[in-house]
Protein backbone atom coordinates (compact mmCIF):
# COMPACT_ATOMS: atom_id res chain seq x y z
CA UNK A 1 0.00 0.00 0.00
CA UNK A 2 1.55 3.16 -1.22
CA UNK A 3 -0.08 6.21 0.23
CA UNK A 4 1.03 9.61 1.35
CA UNK A 5 1.05 8.42 4.97
CA UNK A 6 3.53 5.60 4.30
CA UNK A 7 5.80 8.00 2.42
CA UNK A 8 5.64 10.47 5.28
CA UNK A 9 6.34 7.72 7.79
CA UNK A 10 9.40 6.57 5.81
CA UNK A 11 10.55 10.17 5.65
CA UNK A 12 10.06 10.65 9.42
CA UNK A 13 12.04 7.47 10.06
CA UNK A 14 14.88 8.63 7.79
CA UNK A 15 14.88 12.02 9.49
CA UNK A 16 15.07 10.42 12.94
CA UNK A 17 17.96 8.16 11.83
CA UNK A 18 19.81 11.14 10.36
CA UNK A 19 19.20 13.17 13.51
CA UNK A 20 20.46 10.29 15.65
CA UNK A 21 23.62 10.06 13.55
CA UNK A 22 24.21 13.80 13.64
CA UNK A 23 23.71 14.07 17.40
CA UNK A 24 25.11 10.81 18.73
CA UNK A 25 28.19 10.01 16.65
CA UNK A 26 31.65 11.21 17.58
CA UNK A 27 33.02 11.56 14.06
CA UNK A 28 32.46 14.84 12.21
CA UNK A 29 32.04 13.10 8.84
CA UNK A 30 29.23 10.94 10.24
CA UNK A 31 27.55 14.14 11.48
CA UNK A 32 27.64 15.45 7.90
CA UNK A 33 26.20 12.18 6.57
CA UNK A 34 23.39 12.49 9.13
CA UNK A 35 22.60 15.97 7.83
CA UNK A 36 22.52 14.60 4.27
CA UNK A 37 20.05 11.93 5.37
CA UNK A 38 17.81 14.57 6.97
CA UNK A 39 17.86 16.62 3.74
CA UNK A 40 16.90 13.49 1.79
CA UNK A 41 13.99 12.89 4.17
CA UNK A 42 12.74 16.41 3.45
CA UNK A 43 13.07 15.77 -0.31
CA UNK A 44 10.98 12.62 0.02
CA UNK A 45 8.26 14.70 1.70
CA UNK A 46 8.25 17.14 -1.23
CA UNK A 47 7.94 14.31 -3.75
CA UNK A 48 5.17 12.61 -1.73
CA UNK A 49 3.13 15.80 -1.56
CA UNK A 50 3.76 16.48 -5.26
CA UNK A 51 2.47 12.98 -6.09
CA UNK A 52 -0.57 12.95 -3.80
CA UNK A 53 -1.37 16.63 -3.41
CA UNK A 54 -3.51 18.90 -5.59
CA UNK A 55 -2.13 20.50 -8.78
CA UNK A 56 0.75 18.12 -9.58
CA UNK A 57 1.00 19.62 -13.09
CA UNK A 58 2.49 22.81 -11.59
CA UNK A 59 5.61 20.72 -10.69
CA UNK A 60 6.41 22.91 -7.68
CA UNK A 61 7.33 20.02 -5.39
CA UNK A 62 9.63 18.58 -8.02
CA UNK A 63 11.31 21.94 -8.66
CA UNK A 64 11.88 22.39 -4.94
CA UNK A 65 13.59 18.99 -4.78
CA UNK A 66 15.84 19.85 -7.74
CA UNK A 67 16.98 23.07 -6.03
CA UNK A 68 17.26 21.28 -2.70
CA UNK A 69 19.60 18.66 -4.23
CA UNK A 70 21.71 21.51 -5.63
CA UNK A 71 21.94 23.24 -2.26
CA UNK A 72 22.71 19.92 -0.54
CA UNK A 73 25.57 19.28 -2.96
CA UNK A 74 27.02 22.72 -2.21
CA UNK A 75 26.59 22.07 1.52
CA UNK A 76 28.37 18.71 1.28
CA UNK A 77 31.32 20.26 -0.58
CA UNK A 78 31.73 23.13 1.91
CA UNK A 79 31.16 20.87 4.93
CA UNK A 80 33.78 18.35 3.85
CA UNK A 81 36.23 21.18 3.10
CA UNK A 82 35.63 22.49 6.63
CA UNK A 83 36.27 19.01 8.04
CA UNK A 84 39.54 18.72 6.11
CA UNK A 85 40.54 22.16 7.34
CA UNK A 86 39.61 21.17 10.90
CA UNK A 87 41.69 18.01 10.57
CA UNK A 88 44.73 20.01 9.40
CA UNK A 89 44.28 22.45 12.28
CA UNK A 90 43.39 20.15 15.19
CA UNK A 91 44.72 16.79 13.87
CA UNK A 92 41.42 15.15 14.81
CA UNK A 93 37.84 14.97 13.57
CA UNK A 94 36.47 13.79 16.88
CA UNK A 95 33.92 16.46 17.76
CA UNK A 96 34.27 15.82 21.49
CA UNK A 97 37.93 16.83 21.33
CA UNK A 98 37.36 20.00 19.32
CA UNK A 99 36.30 22.11 22.28
CA UNK A 100 38.81 24.97 22.31
CA UNK A 101 35.99 27.53 22.02
CA UNK A 102 34.17 26.20 25.09
CA UNK A 103 33.49 29.03 27.55
Amino acid sequence: MTSVASCLLLSALLFAIGLAGALMRRNAILVLIGIELMLNAANLNFIAFWRYGPNPEALTGMMFVIFSIGVAAAEAAVGLALIISLYRHAKTINIDEVNSMRG
Binding site: G18, R25, L37, W50, P56, G70, A74
Partner: protein, 164 residues
Amino acid sequence: MLFAIFAILTVAGAVAAMSLRNLVHSVLVLTVAFAGLAAVYLQLGAQFIGFAQILVYVGAVAILIVFAILLTREATATPRSILADSWKESALVVLVVFGVLAWAIHKSAASRNIVPPQPEATMQQIGSALMLRFALPLEIIGVLLTVALIGAVTIAMQDRQETR
Protein backbone atom coordinates in the same frame (compact mmCIF):
# COMPACT_ATOMS: atom_id res chain seq x y z
CA MET B 1 4.54 -4.12 -1.93
CA LEU B 2 7.46 -2.86 -3.99
CA PHE B 3 7.34 0.33 -1.94
CA ALA B 4 7.74 -1.68 1.29
CA ILE B 5 10.84 -3.45 -0.07
CA PHE B 6 12.48 -0.18 -1.11
CA ALA B 7 11.49 1.47 2.18
CA ILE B 8 13.02 -1.36 4.22
CA LEU B 9 16.18 -1.22 2.05
CA THR B 10 16.46 2.54 2.58
CA VAL B 11 15.90 2.42 6.33
CA ALA B 12 18.25 -0.57 6.81
CA GLY B 13 20.96 1.21 4.80
CA ALA B 14 20.54 4.40 6.80
CA VAL B 15 20.63 2.59 10.15
CA ALA B 16 23.73 0.63 9.12
CA ALA B 17 25.42 3.81 7.84
CA MET B 18 24.82 5.53 11.16
CA SER B 19 25.89 2.60 13.36
CA LEU B 20 28.90 0.96 11.67
CA ARG B 21 32.31 1.59 13.19
CA ASN B 22 34.29 1.55 9.94
CA LEU B 23 33.62 4.79 8.05
CA VAL B 24 34.26 3.35 4.58
CA HIS B 25 31.72 0.57 5.21
CA SER B 26 29.33 3.20 6.48
CA VAL B 27 29.58 5.16 3.21
CA LEU B 28 29.06 1.96 1.20
CA VAL B 29 25.78 1.19 2.95
CA LEU B 30 24.86 4.85 2.70
CA THR B 31 24.91 4.50 -1.10
CA VAL B 32 22.47 1.59 -0.68
CA ALA B 33 20.17 3.88 1.30
CA PHE B 34 20.40 6.62 -1.37
CA ALA B 35 19.74 4.09 -4.14
CA GLY B 36 16.70 2.77 -2.26
CA LEU B 37 15.41 6.33 -1.94
CA ALA B 38 15.94 6.82 -5.68
CA ALA B 39 13.85 3.67 -6.29
CA VAL B 40 11.11 5.14 -4.09
CA TYR B 41 11.20 8.33 -6.19
CA LEU B 42 10.93 6.27 -9.38
CA GLN B 43 8.00 4.39 -7.92
CA LEU B 44 6.26 7.65 -7.04
CA GLY B 45 6.50 8.73 -10.68
CA ALA B 46 9.34 11.24 -10.29
CA GLN B 47 11.74 9.75 -12.86
CA PHE B 48 13.92 12.82 -13.25
CA ILE B 49 14.39 13.21 -9.49
CA GLY B 50 15.16 9.51 -9.12
CA PHE B 51 17.94 9.60 -11.70
CA ALA B 52 19.23 12.92 -10.38
CA GLN B 53 19.36 11.31 -6.93
CA ILE B 54 21.46 8.44 -8.30
CA LEU B 55 23.77 10.81 -10.18
CA VAL B 56 24.27 13.32 -7.37
CA TYR B 57 24.15 11.19 -4.22
CA VAL B 58 25.24 7.70 -5.24
CA GLY B 59 27.74 9.16 -7.71
CA ALA B 60 29.14 12.44 -6.45
CA VAL B 61 28.39 12.90 -2.75
CA ALA B 62 29.45 9.35 -1.80
CA ILE B 63 32.78 9.76 -3.65
CA LEU B 64 33.29 13.14 -1.98
CA ILE B 65 32.71 11.63 1.47
CA VAL B 66 35.10 8.75 0.72
CA PHE B 67 37.77 11.29 -0.28
CA ALA B 68 37.22 13.20 2.97
CA ILE B 69 37.45 9.99 5.01
CA LEU B 70 40.70 8.95 3.34
CA LEU B 71 42.19 12.44 3.76
CA THR B 72 41.33 12.61 7.46
CA ARG B 73 42.25 9.06 8.46
CA GLU B 74 43.34 9.25 12.10
CA ALA B 75 46.78 7.89 12.87
CA THR B 76 46.00 7.14 16.51
CA ALA B 77 44.07 4.10 17.68
CA THR B 78 40.30 4.16 17.36
CA PRO B 79 38.53 5.79 20.30
CA ARG B 80 36.89 3.59 22.88
CA SER B 81 33.37 4.44 21.76
CA ILE B 82 31.87 5.65 18.49
CA LEU B 83 29.19 7.57 20.39
CA ALA B 84 29.58 11.15 21.54
CA ASP B 85 29.71 11.96 25.24
CA SER B 86 26.16 13.31 25.34
CA TRP B 87 24.56 10.39 23.50
CA LYS B 88 21.87 9.66 26.08
CA GLU B 89 20.34 13.14 25.89
CA SER B 90 20.62 12.98 22.09
CA ALA B 91 18.79 9.64 21.98
CA LEU B 92 15.99 11.17 24.04
CA VAL B 93 15.75 14.12 21.63
CA VAL B 94 15.64 11.74 18.64
CA LEU B 95 12.89 9.62 20.21
CA VAL B 96 10.81 12.70 21.04
CA VAL B 97 11.22 14.10 17.50
CA PHE B 98 10.23 10.82 15.87
CA GLY B 99 7.32 10.36 18.28
CA VAL B 100 5.94 13.81 17.50
CA LEU B 101 6.34 13.29 13.74
CA ALA B 102 4.68 9.86 13.79
CA TRP B 103 1.83 11.17 15.96
CA ALA B 104 1.28 14.12 13.62
CA ILE B 105 1.24 11.84 10.55
CA HIS B 106 -1.18 9.47 12.25
CA LYS B 107 -3.52 12.29 13.28
CA SER B 108 -3.41 14.30 10.06
CA ALA B 109 -6.06 14.21 7.38
CA ALA B 110 -3.37 13.22 4.85
CA SER B 111 -3.39 9.62 6.06
CA ARG B 112 -7.03 9.11 5.08
CA ASN B 113 -7.38 10.54 1.59
CA ILE B 114 -7.75 8.59 -1.62
CA VAL B 115 -4.92 7.96 -4.06
CA PRO B 116 -5.14 10.29 -7.08
CA PRO B 117 -4.07 9.12 -10.56
CA GLN B 118 -0.39 9.20 -11.45
CA PRO B 119 0.56 12.78 -12.43
CA GLU B 120 2.53 13.45 -15.60
CA ALA B 121 6.03 14.87 -15.39
CA THR B 122 7.81 14.60 -18.71
CA MET B 123 11.30 15.93 -19.32
CA GLN B 124 9.78 18.57 -21.58
CA GLN B 125 7.53 19.87 -18.81
CA ILE B 126 10.41 19.95 -16.32
CA GLY B 127 12.67 21.71 -18.81
CA SER B 128 10.16 24.39 -19.70
CA ALA B 129 9.30 24.93 -16.03
CA LEU B 130 13.02 25.36 -15.22
CA MET B 131 13.60 27.72 -18.14
CA LEU B 132 10.44 29.83 -17.79
CA ARG B 133 8.80 29.94 -14.39
CA PHE B 134 11.83 28.93 -12.30
CA ALA B 135 14.53 30.65 -14.38
CA LEU B 136 15.62 33.02 -11.61
CA PRO B 137 16.03 30.29 -8.93
CA LEU B 138 17.99 28.25 -11.48
CA GLU B 139 20.41 31.15 -12.03
CA ILE B 140 20.76 31.68 -8.28
CA ILE B 141 21.51 27.96 -7.77
CA GLY B 142 24.21 28.23 -10.44
CA VAL B 143 25.81 31.19 -8.67
CA LEU B 144 25.49 29.41 -5.31
CA LEU B 145 27.21 26.27 -6.62
CA THR B 146 30.06 28.32 -8.12
CA VAL B 147 30.56 30.29 -4.90
CA ALA B 148 30.36 27.13 -2.77
CA LEU B 149 32.91 25.27 -4.87
CA ILE B 150 35.35 28.21 -4.89
CA GLY B 151 34.80 28.59 -1.14
CA ALA B 152 35.36 24.88 -0.51
CA VAL B 153 38.65 24.93 -2.44
CA THR B 154 39.75 28.07 -0.60
CA ILE B 155 38.95 26.62 2.83
CA ALA B 156 40.66 23.32 2.09
CA MET B 157 43.79 24.99 0.67
CA GLN B 158 44.26 27.73 3.29
CA ASP B 159 46.65 25.89 5.59
CA ARG B 160 49.05 24.93 2.85
CA GLN B 161 49.39 28.54 1.68
CA GLU B 162 50.12 29.78 5.19
CA THR B 163 52.97 27.37 5.77
CA ARG B 164 54.82 28.49 2.63
